[in-house]
């Protein structure tokens, strides 16, 4: 390879990758369907924003990977990368306009071409597309050459606009719920029904920059002041923070309105599931892909005991709940026994099978007289607390909150105990753990049972909330969702799981267009997390050390 060639190698290569990525996203239809929602109303549709972000990222990588440390070459590489990306798209548009490739690529519609070319027809559109690519590249190049502070400032400011625009459906109703003149005015200033206003965007950037710079200038002072506080005062401030958090959590449903309360409830159910799976996967290292089985068992037990449809037990929710949890625990033990000797992939497949077994059993005609078959079981009464019917999602929210707090409490207590250490030792090295006196059978069964119990708890609440259970609700995707939450949120990290559930379950509700591409996005997210941040979004402190610490004090370990 000549010297000249090697200079541009990275730019072209990464540009190609970026180009293919944007192309795939366009062809899959994401750009088009996301185009209906705006980040900045009337100015920047979400689909375009995503394409731009990918292009800028690719160009930035191109600059970073340039083999020569000369600024002009790095900048040029970024521009080249951007140009290659838009080149791909331009060729695509030109082909698409001349031939009908719609039979092959459903997403290749005129609407898409319009979006890509900014609505300008013919050669002008193509030129505009290429120019956009060049500008993305140039922007990325400039970003790369900036020093740390301005770069972080710019990136985070733009990220803020993106997120604020994205979450318009979440933020706007909360602001409006206060119904105070001042806040209403602000809401109108920042938001329209479809994203940020241009004014809002600019204001957001300004406010963010001010806050960021202030924090940056003072964070050293604040942190050292905090560290210098006596332990007493620090503990007090931590407790104060927890109290504030508690107040926010308790008061939240009042501001959320019906739709958002629903969303929060779904997130809550998944947080509960995630916390339960955290014990099986995070603490004990047992890869369980059939977690939905216990969720289903919890739901069906509550359904059978409280609904008059099949049996007339006539129990109420609170009586059925402990029975549901116990049934879940027993099921956990039942699953655990045959898989005791399995490890890794085999364990995953076996547990996956168990999940499917439960689904097929509740769906079956054979068991229809007892389990309701494909029609499921309906008429499940809402929980009734001393005469107070828990009908609205806001009420279920409090029930979930109580459940989540209970599970977090149990998780934390177990982690610092003999059984917690036994689980973790088993996860690290099963044979040596056994050689330390840990009874593998009991320890594994206990992990499965505990996880299953929590899952059944979530299922019980789910059944009462929805009022009916259908076999189709309990499919493998629930298991997959929970595993994704745990991994992306951060294995073993309790706040991580809450964040993971909020992002992975909440966002698709807020961004309806996402729902169609859910699995695609999860897959991409998993890969990105594994590559860039394997410890998850909000990892435990120790896990961050785990994954990034190879260069620290440790000499090589013997394999």
């Amino acid at each position: 390879m000549t010297k000249a060639q090697s200079l541009w190698n990275q730019g072209v290569k990464i540009g190609a990758i970026g180009g293919v990525s944007v192309l795939i996203i366009s062809l899959v239809g994401m750009v088009e369907s996301f185009g209906k929602r705006d980040i900045i109303a009337g100015v920047l549709p979400m689909g375009v924003a995503i394409a731009l972000i990918i292009s800028i990222l690719a160009a930035y990588m191109a600059a970073k990977k340039t083999p020569i440390s000369e600024k002009s070459i790095q900048f040029a590489n970024a521009v080249v990368s951007g140009l290659v990306i838009s080149g791909f798209l331009a060729v695509f548009v030109m082909i698409g306009r001349s031939f009908n490739i719609r039979e092959m690529f459903v997403g290749a519609s005129p609407v898409l071409y319009n979006i890509l070319t900014g609505g300008v027809a013919g050669a002008g559109g193509i030129f505009l597309l290429l120019l956009t690519g060049v500008l993305c590249g140039a922007f990325a190049g400039i970003l790369y050459m900036l020093r740390d502070l301005p770069r972080k400032l710019t990136v985070n400011a733009l990220l803020t606009i993106f997120i604020l625009g994205l979450l318009q459906e979440l933020i706007l109703p909360i602001l409006k719920a206060w119904d105070i003149g001042m806040i209403n005015y602000l809401a109108g200033l920042f938001y329209t029904l479809n994203g940020l206003t241009p004014v809002g965007a600019i204001l957001s950037v300004v406010i963010f920059c001010v806050l960021y710079l202030l924090w940056n200038a003072n964070q050293g002072a604040v942190k050292s002041k905090y560290a210098a506080l006596p332990k007493e005062a620090r503990k007090k401030s931590q407790i104060a923070a927890l109290i504030v958090l508690a107040v926010i959590l308790i008061v939240l449903p009042q501001f959320l309105g019906l739709f958002l309360s629903e969303v929060i409830t779904i997130v809550g159910l998944y947080v509960l599931l995630g916390l339960g799976l955290n014990i099986v996967v995070g603490y004990a290292g047992l890869l369980d892909l059939g977690y939905v089985a216990f969720f289903a068992i919890g739901s069906y037990v509550v359904a059978l005991l409280t609904s008059p449809q099949i049996f007339a037990f006539g129990l109420n929710f609170w009586q059925a709940l402990p029975i549901a949890v116990i049934c879940g625990i027993l099921a956990g033990v039942m699953l655990g026994i045959p898989v005791l000797k399995m490890r890794g992939d085999y364990l995953a497949i076996a547990t996956l099978g168990f999940g499917e077994i439960i689904r097929i059993l509740v769906l079956s005609d054979f068991l229809r007289p007892w389990l309701g078959g494909a029609q499921g079981i309906g008429s499940i009464p809402n929980p009734n607390l001393f005469g107070f019917q828990m009908v609205k999602p806001q009420h279920i929210y409090y029930l979930l909150l109580a459940g989540i707090i209970l599970v977090i409490f149990i998780s934390l207590r177990l982690k610092k105990s003999k059984i917690g250490r036994a689980w973790m030792a088993m996860r690290e090295d099963e044979d040596v753990a056994q050689a330390m006196g840990i009874n593998l059978v009991a320890t594994k069964l206990l992990a499965f049972a505990t996880g299953a119990g929590f899952s059944a708890l979530s299922g019980a609440i789910f059944a009462s909330k929805i009022g009916s259970v259908y076999p189709h609700s309990f499919n493998v995707f629930i298991s997959i969702n929970v595993v994704c939450i745990v991994i992306i949120g951060g294995i073993g990290s309790l706040p991580g799981i809450v964040v993971g559930a909020a992002v992975l379950m909440g966002l698709p509700e807020l961004l309806r267009e996402f729902a169609e591409y859910r699995m695609f996005v999860y897959g991409v997210a998993l890969v990105i997390v594994m590559l860039l941040r394997p410890e998850g979004l909000l990892p435990e402190a120790r896990h961050k050390m785990e994954f990034h610490d190879e260069t620290e004090a440790g000499a090589k370990t013997v394999a």
């Binding site: 003999k418 056994q434 840990i438 610490d549």
Partner: protein, 251 residues
Amino acid sequence: MTKRFGGLVALNALNINVKEKSIHSIIGPNGAGKTTFFNCLTGFYRPEEGEVMFNGQSIVGLSPDRIVHKGISRTYQNIRLFPNLTALENVMVGYHVHLKSGFFGPILGLKKTKMEEEKARQIALDLLKYVNMEGREDTLAKNFPYGEQRRLEMARALASQPKLLLLDEPTAGMNPKETQDMMDFIQHMRGELGITIILIEHQMRVVMNISDIVTVFDYGKMIAEGLPEEIKNNKTVIEAYLGTGEAADSH
């Protein structure tokens, strides 16, 4: 005992007696069956034929977690710590056999459980101090340099308060000073703690200096046994083993 893996006879009618409170070394070429012997003692393998008697009791066929309860503990040829647990947690796992708390104790915050935890923690800290790793208890095990990992493994093995300690090549990869420290340490364990020690070693200096008895393996059989001085001059042993480029000279 005899141990076979398919057609391979790893241990062939091996017969060994280990005296209480002795330091008993096992040497032999690689592949002679030394680690297999340890694995049979700790219940990881089950010998096809033979018996293992410990303190008058037969322990053959017991699973590894039961054997620890009997008072046998070991370290590994390739260090097998729990890499993502802290030093303190590693040692506390070693103490597992002495903890009685169950599932509900920790959840309910029972006083008995709390006291037991505190005691375990204190014992672990003391053990870390004993192996000169005081103050490092919250570092992840995988972040320690090699020598400290070996010592950590030692602390973990001691946490179960064993009567018999099996050390598998404890000085592998160590420089002369570290080796000397380890030798002193082993003798201290026998002297102060009264632990019987079986040692697999390749460094002749160590073997000659601290062992009470030396057994030599080759091809799964014992080919010689006796005092270090006797072994050093034993013709069969020299033919089979010594002089193969190991640090053969002791002083």
